[in-house]
């Protein structure tokens, strides 16, 4: 009996590993920034070069950093989600990181598609992008009131991942925030 059961057992173990592996997306690399302080930057605002945008300005609040570019095709689908989120998220603000873009193109893009951002850091050289571990655009980060990165979403935001993954994280962080303040 054993000589038939053993190859079968080995086969079943292989099938289990393969079925797990085939469902994983190698493009989604976990971020080493989770739980660490958000990387700093001091960049001009896309829409007002006199203004400076920096993560320090959002200490004490829970906020989103959305990395985007006008040349990024999948950012277009995501933008409608962002516009809606900006309306419904209330206290949680969305800050943009305009990655390796031309300022006129970025400005035009926002004028055409709507602006969900309270501020937009203009990262011409992509240096801030490297510090945040950006390897694909778009990417969205959640930063808590202590300035720590708590969540990263790689790729465009869709409603399913917003509801399943993003909202629970935001709810937990804003609850903690309120508890600390009381």
């Amino acid at each position: 009996m054993w000589r038939y059961l053993l190859p079968l057992a080995v086969f079943i173990v292989l099938v289990v590993f393969l079925s797990i592996g085939l469902q994983l997306d190698p493009k989604k690399i976990p971020s080493p920034l989770i739980g660490k302080t958000a990387p700093g930057f001091q960049l001009p605002d896309l829409l007002d070069a006199e203004k400076t945008v920096s993560p320090d300005q959002y200490k004490g609040k829970v906020w989103l950093l959305n990395v985007w570019a006008s040349w990024c095709v999948s950012c277009r689908a995501e933008h409608q989600v962002l516009n809606e989120l900006a309306r419904s998220l209330g206290d949680v603000q969305i800050v943009g990181l305009n990655y390796k873009d031309a300022s006129e193109d970025g400005q035009r893009w926002l004028a055409q598609r709507g602006n969900p951002y309270v501020a937009n850091a203009f990262d011409l050289k992509g240096k801030a992008g490297i510090d945040w571990g950006v390897y694909g655009v778009p990417e969205t980060f959640v930063i808590d009131s202590n300035g720590l990165v708590q969540y990263k979403h790689t790729g465009p935001l869709d409603w399913q991942s917003v509801q399943q993954d993003l909202m629970p994280v935001l709810q937990k962080l804003t609850e903690n925030n309120r508890a600390v303040q009381n």
Partner: protein, 149 residues
């Protein structure tokens, strides 16, 4: 007299100049050991992705600033995680990855040895005297038939 120690490294589409050959060696080694996260099966040396270009430039600038290859590797891992290393580090999390194939090979060879030993035992039956004589007779008649042909 202009004896320039400048050496040029061609990787991807850009050229980097180094003032000494040791720096060049470090640069070449690093861009071969770091992964391009866009084209994930290529290292920074081979990839033409824009991020690879940016990271090559970053490595070059860090070498020019005098940073060690350990510092550069730490810089990359802090931002992109262990996956940026083309050769996975030897940590508890990657123990199975590193030792697994050897373990499976070892088990396979073990099974093979056991299997062969069992097979050998099956063939080691001794014939009784009667059976031996019967077998010899049969063999004799067969060879007689051969001679008659």
């Amino acid at each position: 007299m202009f004896f320039s120690l400048l050496t040029n490294v061609f990787a991807g589409v850009e050229v980097h100049e180094f003032s000494n050959p040791d720096d060049e060696k470090i640069y070449v080694r690093l861009i071969n050991e770091l992964r391009c996260l866009v084209c994930q099966n290529q290292n920074l040396a081979d990839s033409n992705a824009e991020l690879a270009q940016d990271l090559r430039k970053e490595v070059y600038q860090m070498i020019q600033k005098g940073q060690s290859s350990d510092e550069i590797v730490d810089f990359m891992v802090a931002r992109y995680g262990d996956f940026v290393l083309y050769r996975p580090p030897f940590k508890t999390e990657t123990l199975v990855l590193w030792l697994g194939p050897f373990l499976i090979l070892f088990l396979g060879v073990l099974f093979l040895i056991i299997f062969i030993k069992k097979k050998k035992q099956m063939h080691k039956t001794e014939l009784s005297e009667d059976d031996k004589q019967y077998a010899e007779e049969l063999l004799r008649t067969m060879s007689d038939d051969e001679d008659k042909k």
